[in-house]
Symmetry: C2
Amino acid sequence: MTGTAERGPPDFDSIVDAARLLHGVAAVTPLLRSDALDARLGASVWIKAECLQRTGSFKFRGAWTNVSRLPEKRRNRGVVAYSSGNHAQAVAAAARLHDIPATIAMPLDAPAIKRARTESWGAAVRPFDRNVEDRIGIATALAEELGCPIVPPYDHPDTIAGQGTVGLEIASQCRALGIVPDAVVVPCGGGGLIAGVSTALKTAMPGVPIHPCEPAAGDDTKRSLEAGRRIALAGPIRSVCDSLLADTPGELTFEINRRTLAPGIAVADADALYAMRIAFDDLKLVLEPGGAAGLAALVSGEMPCRGRTIVAVASGGNVDADLFSRALNGPGTL
Amino acid sequence: MTGTAERGPPDFDSIVDAARLLHGVAAVTPLLRSDALDARLGASVWIKAECLQRTGSFKFRGAWTNVSRLPEKRRNRGVVAYSSGNHAQAVAAAARLHDIPATIAMPLDAPAIKRARTESWGAAVRPFDRNVEDRIGIATALAEELGCPIVPPYDHPDTIAGQGTVGLEIASQCRALGIVPDAVVVPCGGGGLIAGVSTALKTAMPGVPIHPCEPAAGDDTKRSLEAGRRIALAGPIRSVCDSLLADTPGELTFEINRRTLAPGIAVADADALYAMRIAFDDLKLVLEPGGAAGLAALVSGEMPCRGRTIVAVASGGNVDADLFSRALNGPGTL
């Protein structure tokens, strides 16, 4: 019912078309560097700051693309989504900007800022316990009841095409700066962002290895890449990286990612928090734990980077003040 | 001896030349917006994110311009500066990148991150007690002893020209976005940033009022603008805005600012901290208290903005984790 499987992976042109849809609506986020970070790592690191995207994460790109491509007749009663928070805000924003209602199933333990922001866009939030209830089942029931399509968080060609615009921007920004990265690291939950980014870069900046970065407790994409097939972890996954808690790769995303990605990297929760502290000190950016997973792969040493040029996607910055303070009060970085 | 007074204010061409010197060395910082911030204020607010500048504040622009314009013979033994921290890092970076030594007089109570970062650029730091010692006297003695020129933090045409490139970028970014702001608000210490910005905008975006924002305890520019002459406050100034503690406007900066500026705005320390919290929640930016003074003028209501389009310069993000946590633990904003 979500129109996923029948269409197959988006191609490069679909991502270019998404960029056109997003022009003037989404931000072109900056590619940032820091002398302090480079000195710390002995590397040349470029941060694609998607925390500065509208709604505070890359998710707006996919949600906007998906909603915009729904035939008006299908979307005029509104849209439904399920999300731990970043996709929720993104769909809420995309719906509001299209002047249609949104109903979002969100886990009870979603960060307060994510729920508050979703509601502030005018969306109706339907909370659920992610330890006992099935989010897709809830969303499907809501969609049927309301007569609305679901905007899938990652496993959909239009969602993936929207996220892929991050890759287009990385390629053109690297070109403008005269950089050819040795690798790109991307936070990975269900795999939509990295599926889009890798599809874009395969054409726009070919030959650069692209690594998914996941919390160690939820390394389903890493394991699936190793096995050559989708591996489902025994859930529920527990990690501070609330935006990366997928227990299995998406069908469509994995169909893409198995062909496009370099090996996965697992990061400890402590390293995600440490990367948040480093982003605070060196980059003056607020990152959420999942958004810092790419940087965490570098600062933890899990992804060797000395002497190399790396692009790290910082995928989101929606984090509660309490957790951010916890990251700041961890080991100092000066 | 610093070559200040004899040359007079920099003109527009000097700022354009500074932009040429800074090209490929400094960042072109983004002009950011946030739906949440706009909804909160009922305004259209654009943040010029100088916290994302090299060394974490706008100061790098002026320091680089100043050092670059020193004749090689004058600078080859190095440079001297005095600064509470942002200019210190900026001069240390500019000197290191020119491969010359830097010696910086810094107050003992400067934030730890500012001192650590200044030293990490290889500069020698000479700490002093700003309550009893005179920073200019110390710097002058150091300069004589070492045979090096001083790089003044604000009261120098080349420093001002460098800071003015912030204004050039604001004008071109507004043009690209199709925005004509109703006002620009700029944090103000000695007045170098706003002198440069207002000189640039007078030509590049004429007719837009430009307001200096100062801590209430150090509102020397506000009072001086009202009096039409430089007013010296009884020091030392105490405010959480460590980067804005000037007790009197610069000679050259005030010569400019008295002709270019709209009335000054004084912000309470609590509002600067609250603005830091809002930058965290709405913009995903790390601001230091002084860097948040422009935003504080808006969120406090001191600068009415409802229904208006405002550009706020966020001038720096060098803040210690302890103080940032204090800002986060203040009144929530959700």
